[in-house]
């Protein structure tokens, strides 16, 4: 003999009059309405995009192209919408037939298909809008930014000049991390003896975080040679640019280090101290390695920002990728050489941002190792 308990089942809870109340299926109306709206908008934009793409082949192709694109997109989006409609009517039938479980299942399917239609629409809308933008008016946008001959002509020189961006970025990153670490340690010194040191570190960070990098580059690169101090004023503009960016990013990296040091739980320090490990070694062996793992992601984020800011050195006449591209764009009266700069920055940045994501995820899931 078996005993079944229905206790705690909210769906088949018994109502006051003894009848079992049934929870109705989730709504399918508004998801379907939104899916239809997305589909209509997508078909509309497809019509525009098809028209301007086809016009590149020939003006007479405009209407057939538009119709073809609209029809294609309509057919694609009709699939999930029809499935959603079918599931919705199945759900209603089941509900009236007194099968609430089947009704809920069918409604869930209907919602899934409606959301799929919305998702596909959400993808198509921006893609088709960009296609329209690039090809409209005889592809004027495309020809301004993506002219193949200009890209090919400038590619080698711009890529070579990009080496300046990379070497500025890498050198400045190393220098700014060292200075930043100094700032962070200085700011976390305890005790009344170090109140002035803490003050100086806070002051530095506050000042350099409030000043735009481009202003500091300008001041350092033009100011230092102007002062006429022996040795100091005889440097290379590249060197001044590296110093300017290092000073700026030391403030950001210093804050990152400080967050990392503060993020290590005090019990780790207690444990290390209780083993008789001296303070310097606690920082070097226990706190910093753990902090570095946690801040590797954000720190790399700062490095990416620094790489992009290297394009600012063009204001002081250093020939970096952007400066080189501007020379080409002036000669050809076309911006496709600057597109090369964009592609170069994207090519070095995207792998790094993926690495940042990975490092951040790892720091969140795995302690240590």
């Amino acid at each position: 003999m078996t005993m079944t308990k229905t206790m705690g089942d909210p769906v088949s809870a018994t109502a006051a009059d003894g009848a079992t109340r049934q929870t109705p299926p989730l709504p399918t109306g508004w998801p379907l309405a939104m899916a239809a709206a997305f589909a209509a908008a997508s078909v509309g934009i497809a019509f525009l995009a098809g028209s301007s793409v086809a016009a590149l082949i020939g003006e007479t192709m405009r209407l057939p192209g538009a119709m073809l694109a609209a029809l294609g997109i309509a057919l694609v989006l009709a699939v999930p919408i029809r499935r959603a409609l079918a599931a919705r009517s199945r759900s209603r039938e089941a509900w009236t037939a007194g099968d609430p479980v089947a009704a809920r299942v069918a409604a869930a399917h209907a919602r899934h298909h409606a959301f799929t239609a919305m998702g596909v629409g959400g993808f198509l809308l921006p893609v088709l809008a960009v296609a329209t933008f690039l090809t409209i008016n005889d592809a004027v946008v495309y020809k301004t930014f993506l002219r193949g001959d200009v890209i090919l002509a400038s590619l080698l020189d711009v890529t070579r000049a990009f080496g300046a961006n990379l070497s500025i970025a890498i050198t400045a990153q190393i220098l700014s991390m060292l200075l930043g670490l100094l700032l962070a340690v200085g700011r976390s010194l305890q005790g009344s003896s170090f109140v002035l040191v803490r003050g100086v570190c806070i002051f530095y960070v506050d000042i350099f975080r409030s000043l735009p990098a481009i202003v500091i580059i300008y001041l350092v690169c033009f100011g230092v040679p102007l002062m006429g101090i022996p040795v100091l004023s005889d440097g290379d503009p590249m060197l001044y640019a590296i110093v300017a960016l290092s000073l700026t990013y030391a403030a950001y990296n210093g804050e990152q280090f400080r967050a990392g040091l503060k993020g290590i739980h005090h019990s780790q320090i207690s444990a290390a101290q209780s083993l008789g490990i001296p303070p310097g070694a606690v920082l070097r062996l226990i706190v910093l390695p753990q902090a570095m793992r946690r801040i590797a992601g954000p720190m790399l984020g700062n490095f990416i920002a620094l790489q992009k800011d290297t394009a600012l050195v063009n204001i002081v006449g250093i020939v970096d990728a952007f400066t080189q591209a501007k020379i080409y764009s002036a000669n050809y009266y076309n911006l496709s050489s600057v597109t090369v700069v964009c592609i170069l920055f994207i090519a070095v940045t995207i792998p790094q941002t993926r690495l940042v994501d990975y490092l951040v995820a790892r720091a969140e899931t795995k302690e240590g190792r």
Partner: protein
Amino acid sequence: MARPLIELQGIGKSYGKFRVIDGIDLDIARHSVVSLIGASGSGKSTLLRCLNGLEDIQQGEIRLNGEVISGLGIDHVVLRRRIGMVFQSYNLFPHMSVLGNCTVAPVITGACGQEEAEARALSMLERVGMRDKANAFPDQLSGGQQQRVAIARTMIMQPEVLLLDEITSALDPELVMEVLDLVRDLAKQGMTMLLTTHEMSFAREISDKVCFLYKGRILEEGPPEEVFGAPREAATQSFLRRVTAAGRL
């Protein structure tokens, strides 16, 4: 009678207006085990942390083997090598292997070279039954295993006294015994220990002396049979009643 290994005299400490420790006198004889019991906030953990200088005291004096080890000018870095401490939350270094956790302190303090430290670590890990996990990382170990490693890590420094701060409180119930067995072994080998615990039956079994802390004072102290069997103070009786009701005795 021989001089106690540790003597606490009139220890007092406040956080602002809150008096955490309010005049504690306590002697710990060499090779003895002293347990501190009492409700949360009664000052047990703070007292342990004061003993190895993780917290400073405002009144009183602490002596280790007759030598004053409290007050300004104490080199805590050197002192802590003589007073080992194990924490409730194990506090293993997550970025180091079990072996690395055990060897970092002896090597950096110059107690011995890397090779000897590893040899000592392995034999200590053998004693706590963790030798086969020497190359594992803390996050691959259970709480009980981590705590056994933490004890080994502290014992390698060959401290004169061991402070155990609620070392089983963070453990799943089925893992408590493996850690308590280890502490029992250490006691048998004559290790001087001062511990705080919520495991009353363990405190009763292992201790030479039990102190009941109440509002920063030692309200009652004596052999475990007395404090647990026939508590004199009303506060002790009520604390033990509540602990018993919670099934911890």
